[in-house]
């Protein structure tokens, strides 16, 4: 984990017409990604509803720790303001304005950024957030037959099960590993890289999930998830 802590992470800027909305989204996303800069920019300079170009320009610079920034917006003119701010930057390629659902996109981007992913991956996570739902487990029935796949039944000992924060922790704990990890619950399966899909499994406390991992770090991935679940997801 120390290796990941040393690298700079992609930052997020949440542009909204409303200060409260921007702050709320940033609060939610930051809870799942403690080391990611999630900066809210909402309302006009006078505190009314609207977008403040100058404040967005400042937030872009502040959120950029060296790995770039993903910018999310709420309504049309917030997008235009964000795009203008990006165009005015010295290096516009460091900033990506994403067309994504604001809440889901911010959460997915934050968790992906926490795992140390590059700008393009964080942007893709936000943009794919609306479509991230679990798929039927038999859509990929052969996975557990893949040579060297590691799997385990993992009891969820915490009260809330695979709720938002535990899902984010699980996604983060395997993000930096060289492994493809899927989590199954009931008839559904979620990619462990997608916190939204994990939440979509609705796996409650007291039940068990099945973790299947492939790749070089497969065993380590399963071990980490078992450990995390044993600790009750630090709840």
């Amino acid at each position: 984990m120390t290796a990941a802590a040393d690298t700079t992470r992609v930052g997020l800027v949440v542009v909204s017409h409303s200060d409260m909305l921007a702050n709320g989204v940033a609060e939610l996303a930051a809870q799942m990604a403690p080391d990611v800069a999630v900066l809210p920019v909402g309302g006009t300079e006078e505190g009314g509803l609207g977008t403040d170009y100058g404040a967005v320009v400042e937030a872009l610079a502040d959120a950029d720790a060296g790995a770039g920034v993903v910018v999310l917006y709420d309504l049309g003119s917030a997008k235009m303001t964000a795009e203008m701010a990006v165009e005015s930057a010295d290096d516009p390629t460091r900033y990506t304005v994403v067309d994504a659902p604001l809440v889901e996109g911010a959460v997915a981007a934050a968790v992906t950024a926490q795992g140390g992913a590059p700008l393009a991956d964080v942007a893709a996570a936000a943009e794919g957030a609306s479509g991230e739902t679990p798929v039927a487990a038999d859509a990929r029935p052969a996975l557990h037959l893949v040579p060297d796949a590691v799997s385990a039944e993992v009891p969820l000992t915490n009260e809330v099960g695979l709720h938002a924060r535990p899902a984010a922790l699980l996604a983060r704990t395997v993000a930096e590993l060289d492994a493809d990890v899927v989590v199954r619950y009931g008839d559904e399966e979620a990619n462990a890289a997608s916190v939204l899909a994990l939440m979509g499994l609705s796996a409650p406390g007291g039940r068990s999930i099945t973790v299947v991992a492939t790749g070089k770090d497969a065993a380590e991935a399963v071990r980490r998830i078992e450990e995390l679940a044993e600790r009750g997801f630090d709840d």
């Binding site: 006009t44 170009y53 100058g54 309504l75 049309g76 003119s77 235009m80 795009e83 203008m84």
Partner: protein, 208 residues
Amino acid sequence: MGCTAADVIAAIRAAAVVVQEHRDELVRLDQAIGDADHGENMRRGFTAVLSRLDTEPPDTPAKVLKLVATTLISTVGGAAGPLYGTAFLRASSAVGDLAELDGDAVARALRAALDGVVARGKAVVGDKTMVDALTPAVTAAACAEGTAAAALSAAADAAAEGATSTVPMVARKGRASYLGDRSAGHMDPGARSTALLLRALADAAAKA
């Protein structure tokens, strides 16, 4: 005779006065189909433009247009900020370092402004936006021959007609598009403000 920086400043001042006079009208238009902030946003933006023209009067037409652009971008708050900001910014680039603007320069500036607005807002003619006023204005200015005043006057007339044409339209862009068919029967406030601005600029240029 062309429009100097001082003439352009005078025209922008006149436009600011017109925006203030029509604040309530623009609010009412925006109340009908949007979020009722267009009149106040434009008033705030042009009030800021006036005060910056007082403290730092630019010495070329392009610099005047650029000052208007940067001020509107940072003070308007709604969609009109990025859109008018982009329009004035592109217009500023289009006239380059000319000391005086003639009809050709005005036509080029309006064309560049329209291209900027379309690139920024992705609207086309018929979407019930300022593009419906600006597009015929660009064509009219290009056809008018001679002075900046003549080009602006032709543009203003065409923009007024274009704004009127938005009344029966169903909005396909911006907040008004959420209303669907209920947006028909109201003039688009952005098209109206575009027509007002061009009329004010034309009238001021005629006096220069």
